[in-house]
Every structure is written in C-alpha cells, then in structure tokens.
C-alpha cells in the first residue's frame, strides 16, 4: 500500500505542471498557491481559502465523488471541478 502511494505521488508530481487538490492523497497537507477559475474565486474566499492557507485533504467521498477538505480549521466539501481549480504549492 505504502509503496504504491509513493509511486503515484511521484508520478503525479513529476508529470503535471501544476498540482491541485485532486492530486493530493488522503491526509496530505499542502498550502494554497492560487486559484484557477475566477468564477469560484470569491466563493473560495468566502469559505476561508486564500493563497498561503494551509489545506488538508481529509478524504474523498464514497461513490468516487466530492473532496472533504480542511482549510485551517474550516471543513469544506468540494466538487471535483472546484477542487481542480485550487492550485497547491509544490
């Protein structure tokens, strides 16, 4: 299990230019770099997300769905399309 996870992590970080929340694994901690889609930006701020905020991917939902994310102390549920537009610092 552990080896498999490290393999996926390497692969993701190596191949993609940008890392987003959907590239994180359960329990991983990261820091927000920026937001990709303007239409979500205000809403992200409303929920306490801003550049440099600490974000933890707690888990993904059953049925291959939403992302349960912790930003500082706030717990937020995000759709894939929303999670995809949050860029994480490498």
């Amino acid at each position: 299990m552990k080896l498999k996870n490290i393999g996926i992590l390497d692969k993701r970080m190596g191949l993609k230019e940008q890392k987003t929340i959907i590239d994180m694994i359960n329990g991983e901690i990261g820091y927000i770099e920026s937001f990709e889609k303007p239409i979500f930006t205000c809403k992200f701020y409303n929920l306490g997300m801003s550049p440099n905020a600490k974000v933890t991917l707690v888990r993904k939902a059953p049925f291959g769905g939403a992302y349960y994310v912790k930003i500082n102390k706030t717990l937020v549920a995000l759709r894939t399309i929303e999670a995809k537009s949050i860029i994480i610092k490498k």
Partner: protein, 706 residues
C-alpha cells in the same frame, strides 16, 4: 431614519448561531412572512424593550458575502440596498462565529461600508479564553461596537438588548464607521460616479454594489439598467474581476488584524474528526445513512399511527356533535360533510409530518445532514440534482410542500427546478392510506418472503418505486433543460454539536405551519367543492335516486343503517360527481377501473387522502367512519355483474395502486410549484408528466396481468 415599526436585522454566515439567537430573543413571538416578489420566507419576531416599545427582529437567511448566487443570499443584498424595502433595517446585529477567524467578517465589513448602523456580535465566546481576546482591536478595525456573546451559555444576551435600546435612544453615532474599509481604485471611482447619478444616491459603496447587481435588482428600472450597463462598459468595470478584487482586498485588510487578536490553536475539534472518520467512510458512510433512514421511517410508521387515530376519532366526534347541535339543512351538511372532513384531512397527517421533520431537524442541527449532502453530491449530480437536493427528497417523504420550499438553498436554477419537479414522486404521507387500503388486494397479509412480512416488503417496494421514478425523471429533465448558470457544491461542514431543543422546535413548527397554510387552504376549499359535487345532481336526479333507494330497502327489509348507506351510495351515483365518474369511465377502463373508481380518482386529484373517504361513501359503508379494514372487506365483495369475477382483482388493484404512486394528485403541490417557480408552465408540466407516467404504467400493468 428610524422607521416605525422599528426593525433590527440579524445577519451573518450560515452556522454562525444567528437563528439560535433569533429564537432566544423572540421566543414564541415570531411568524414567517413572505418577502414580496420572491419566494423566500423571512422569519420576523417581536421583541419588547423595557420602555414598552416593540421592535421587529428580522432573521435574514445566512450569507457569506454580497457577491452571492442563491436566492437566499441575494435577498440579503436586495433588502440592505433598497431603503424602501419593508424589511430594510434601522440596525444590523451582525453575528460572527469567533472561532472561525476572518471568513465571517467579510460580509460584516461590507454591511458596515454600506453605512447601515451595525453592532458586531461575536458568538461562541464560551469556546475560547476571553481574557486573551483583544476586543479593542476588532472595534478599531471595523469602527463599530463589538459584543462577545454565547447563545449556548447565555453570556451577554442582555447586553445585546441594552445596546439595541441605546441605539434607539441615543442615535446611531457609535454604530456607524466614518471611514470605508475598502478603498476604491480609479475605475471603480468613475463607475461609482456614473451609477450614483443614475440611481440618485450619495452612498459610494451602495453605488458600487448596484453597478455589480443591477441586472437582477427588482427596483432598478430598464432605463437605469441600460444606463448603468453602458456606464460600466465605458469605464471598463468588469463584474467578476471587481468582485474578486474587492473580496481579496477585504481579506488582505482583515486577515492580519484578526490573526493578531487571538492566538488560535491549530487543532480543530478532535471529536468532529473522529466522528467523520466513520460517518464519511467510503463504505460505512452510506450504510450508516441508509440505516438511519430506515430507522426513521420505521419509527414513524409504528409511532405515528396512534396519534393519527386520535385525530381521526377526534374529528369524528366533532362531526357527530355538529350534526346533533345544528339542525338539518344544507349548511349543516356543508359543515359536517365538507368542512370537517376537509379539516380532518389536513390534521390527520400532522403526527407523521411532525415526526419526520423532528428527525430531519436533529440531523440538520447536529451537522450530520451536511455530511449526507457531501456523500451524495456526486451521485445526485449525475441525475441533474445537487447534493443539497437530498434534504428536499427526504422531506418529501412527509409532504412535498415544505420540501419544495426548502429548495431555495440550491443556487443553480436548473438543479433547483429539477428537484422541485421530481420531489412529489417520493411517496408522501397522504399516499399511505391509499396504499393501506389497496395493498391487501395485491399481496395477501399472510404471505411472507424470506422471513419478512410480504405486505411490509411491498410497502417498501412502493417507496422504492417512487425514488427510482424520481431519479429517472430527474435524468430526463437533465437532458431536456438547458443550464445557464454555474452549479456549486462548496459546502461548509460545521462541527458536530448537540442539537438545541428550541431550534428543533422552531425548525419543525416553521415547516408544519407551511404545510397547514399552503395545503390547508386548498384542501379545505376543495373538500367543500367536492361535497357540493357529491351532494347535488342535475334536476331532481338526487330525489329520484333517494326514493328509489328507499323503495329497494323496504323491499329487502333493510335496517335503518343499511338504508342510509344505500341511499348515500345511490345518491352519489346520481350526483355531479357520479356523472363525471361515468364520463371518464371510457378513459379509465383500459386501466381496469370502473366509474366508481373514476369518482374516487377525480376527488383524489385535489388531495390523495380523499380517496378513502370517497370510496367509503361509494361503497355504502358510511363516510363518517373511514375504516380501511371495513372498506377492504366491502371492496373484496364487489363483483362484476357480467363476468361474475371480483372487481378488485389483482390486475385492477395493482394498476390502481401504481397509479397513486406516480400521479400528481395534490392541488397544493401544484400551487407551491407555481409560487416557487413564478410561472404557470412548470406546474402544468409537472402535472402532465406525472399523470402520463401514471397512466402508462397502470395501463401496461393492467393489460399484462389481466
């Protein structure tokens, strides 16, 4: 300008404890009013100050900022911008959760920049160490008074009241900030100048907000809209870009100050995390959810029948009492046979509805419901719904009316519309008497399947059928309807907390009164209309039917009771209702129904539960007692005179049962759909598609099994 009556608004983020505070201050003195021109309901309560004057406390729907999308959030903007609005407040109590840092203060800074007198109330102060919190810094940042409170412990609630009194006595000086928190750039300034002249206002931030929102604000006329639009183009004021800029700047101003005000520990609520490990687990999560649902519905079925029976017998008693005290005559009949059964029809469902909403309230108040939304959002999106739709779908198990009203938390119009369209397919309380009456003809009570009572399983099957139909229809709508706006989840998951009884009480009573008000009016009127149709016929047809019945009864030497029942059944056949039933018989014959069932179908189109009462009358068991068991016995005795076979055969009964699963037989639901969608198109479509589904399924089933 202090208005009269005096108005104080409670504004803040969702989950800030705003509604708790509202409930605490207003107690029983609250009512729900419908904001004109919208479908959003606002809770208004009265509070009496020491000097005897009363103030209207207005609980605004929770919002995160003025750059909002859902109907709930937009209402905040609309009322606060429009000074002429009936709910426009003199004073704002802004509630923020002190444990949640900057995020709660974005909206506060916007409200204050609008120039509306404000007090900031820091709620949940009992969860931090008060001596270490630098209140003065917060007061300095926002330029208004800040009161630390706790709605749970009661800390400083009285200070809030004193502050309100002081506002009305001494004026608004301490409540307004001289400076604006947000500084405009040159583009914004020129845009503001343009808009200021068009709308005739001096307030710069107000003008900026109108430059953003003019397209949907109802009090901006078309000419003004056109002018603002061209003004914006000229100055290069792009809506989304400047929303982001303002939001970011506000955060950049607020965040550093608030970080220095208190040393927030890193760790969040450990208990919440532990619970969520189980509740949102990939496998356990759904299992727990379905178990909870099963428990709730099982509990309602077992426990709600007892008070329901009390209500029924209560109304029976009132009925008899009325008949004895009032003389004979049409008016007495109207009351006893129209009005009272109509009222009974509304109240008999209260136990079930109250219980279901009680359970839903616990799920919401504790924080569990948001986890359910989280788990099901992806699945529901595939059907064109939103995760938030699940609350409406579950509520529809009690009654679709409050369920449809609760869709206003869904921002995307298409998702909201689809939820409204399919919610009535979920089997509601009113279908239960029909299922009960008919299920015995489809599944024998003695049968069991794998150790479970077959009828119980069949009941569950009917519910399941409703759910499948709802999802299927949603899918069809998803492909037919066009989507204009973006759709969001972006859901905040609050920490788990013990539900407060007071809040549960108000949650349940709001929805129950929605049901009574909306359904009640219509069921009452329709019951009286149906009484008329069933009691009167053309010319002297009714008198003839009566005399015929009496002569038959004399020949057969029937008892008084039997004679009464025969007279009743002959009369209904001769009445307008009977004529209508015979008229539609050709349409319903392919489904396996006769004209008697036709009458019941017609009457049920107003409200499903009327089915049992109507059938009881038609089959001469006397409509005073709606005894389903007696009805079933009588129904099983009905034989087709031509073929000699029972009328309530398996095929006919199944067909009738399924018709009730799918058809929209509730005028009140149509009325609410009309109100919530502000268009007559959608209730018509709703009625048509559900009716068509019902007809087709019943037709296929009957033809196949007969």
């Amino acid at each position: 300008m202090i208005s009269s009556p005096r108005k104080v608004a409670l504004i803040g983020n969702p989950n800030s404890g705003k509604t708790s505070l509202f409930n605490q201050l207003t107690g029983r003195h609250q009512h729900t009013s419908n904001y004109p021109g919208t479908t959003v309901n606002i809770n208004v309560g009265k509070y009496e100050l020491e000097n005897g004057s009363t103030i209207d406390l207005i609980d605004f729907p929770g919002a995160y900022s003025f750059f909002a999308t859902s109907a709930d959030e937009k209402l905040n903007v609309e009322i606060l911008i429009d000074e002429q609005s009936p709910h426009h407040p003199d004073l704002v109590l802004y509630i923020a959760d002190v444990t949640q840092l900057d995020r709660h203060f974005l909206l506060a800074s916007q409200v204050i920049d609008l120039g509306i007198p404000t007090v900031i109330i820091l709620n949940m102060f009992d969860l931090i160490e008060p001596e270490k919190y630098d209140l003065k810094k917060v007061e300095k940042l926002f330029g208004v008074r800040v009161i630390p409170v706790s709605t749970r412990s009661g800390l400083n609630i009285s200070t809030i009241i004193d502050t309100i009194s002081s506002f009305y006595t001494n004026g608004s000086e301490d409540f307004v900030n001289d400076e604006l928190l947000y500084k405009f750039d040159t583009v914004e300034l020129s845009t503001i100048n343009n808009t200021k002249q068009i709308i005739n206002s001096d307030n710069p931030y107000l003008a900026k907000l109108i430059s953003h929102h003019y397209k949907w604000l109802p009090f901006i006329n078309n000419e003004q809209k056109a002018n603002i639009e061209s003004g914006n183009k000229e100055t290069g004021f792009e809506d989304v870009h400047y929303q982001i800029k303002e939001t970011m700047n506000r955060y950049q101003t607020i965040e550093p100050v608030l970080k220095s005000v208190y040393n927030y520990k890193e760790s969040s609520n450990k208990l919440t995390d532990k619970i969520d490990n189980i509740i949102t687990h990939r496998v356990l999560g759904p299992i727990i959810f379905f178990s909870v649902m099963l428990f709730i519905f099982q509990a309602i079925f077992s426990w709600a029948t007892i008070p329901s029976d009390w209500v029924e017998s209560g109304f029976s008693a009132i009925s008899s009492l009325a008949r004895h005290t009032m003389g004979a005559g049409w008016f007495t009949n109207l009351i006893v046979e129209g009005l009272i059964p109509g009222l009974a029809g509304v109240f008999v469902f209260l136990p079930q509805i109250i219980m279901l909403f009680f359970f839903i309230a616990i799920l919401e108040e504790s924080g569990y419901m948001s986890r359910v939304v989280f788990m099901f959002d992806t699945l529901l999106s595939k059907f064109g719904l939103n995760g938030r739709s699940i609350v409406s779908l579950i509520s529809s198990g009690a009654c679709a009316i409050p369920a449809i009203m609760s869709t206003r938390t869904i921002s995307n119009f298409k998702e909201r519309l689809i939820t409204i369209m399919v919610a009535p397919l979920i089997s509601c309380s009113a279908r239960i008497p029909v299922y009960t009456a008919l299920i015995g003809f489809v599944v024998p009570s003695t049968m069991s399947f794998m150790g479970f009572n077959a009828q119980g399983l069949a009941f569950m099957g009917l519910y399941l059928l409703g759910i499948v139909a709802a999802l299927g229809s949603a899918l069809v709508f998803k492909f037919i309807l066009k989507n204009k706006d973006a759709s969001y989840l972006l859901l905040e998951l609050p920490e788990y907390k013990k539900p407060m009884i007071k809040n549960i009480f108000y949650y349940v009573s709001t929805r129950v009164s929605e049901f009574i008000k909306e359904a009640g009016k219509i069921i009452l009127i329709v019951s009286m209309l149906l009484w008329f149709l069933a009691s009167y016929g053309p010319g002297d047809a009714m008198q003839q039917a009566e005399s015929q019945a009496i002569s038959i009864s004399k020949t057969k030497q029937m008892s008084d009771d039997q004679q009464d029942n025969l007279v009743a059944s002959q009369k209904i056949e001769a009445s307008y209702a009977g004529i209508l039933g015979k008229f539609i018989e050709p349409i319903v014959k392919p489904l396996g129904y006769d004209w008697k069932m036709g009458i019941a179908l017609i009457t049920s189109f107003a409200a499903r539960e009327v089915f049992v009462g109507t059938m009881a009358t038609i089959y001469s068991i006397g409509s005073d007692q709606e005894d389903e068991i007696k009805l079933r016995d009588r129904m099983s005795q009905q034989v087709n005179p031509l073929t000699g076979k029972p009328i309530y055969s398996f095929a006919t009964s199944l067909s009738l049962l399924l018709f009730y699963v799918f058809a929209l037989q509730c005028l009140s639901t149509l009325a609410v759909t009309y109100k919530e969608t502000k268009s007559i198109k959608w209730p018509i479509i709703q009625f048509t598609y559900m009716g068509t589904m019902a007809y087709l399924v019943s037709f296929i089933v009957y033809q196949y099994f007969s």
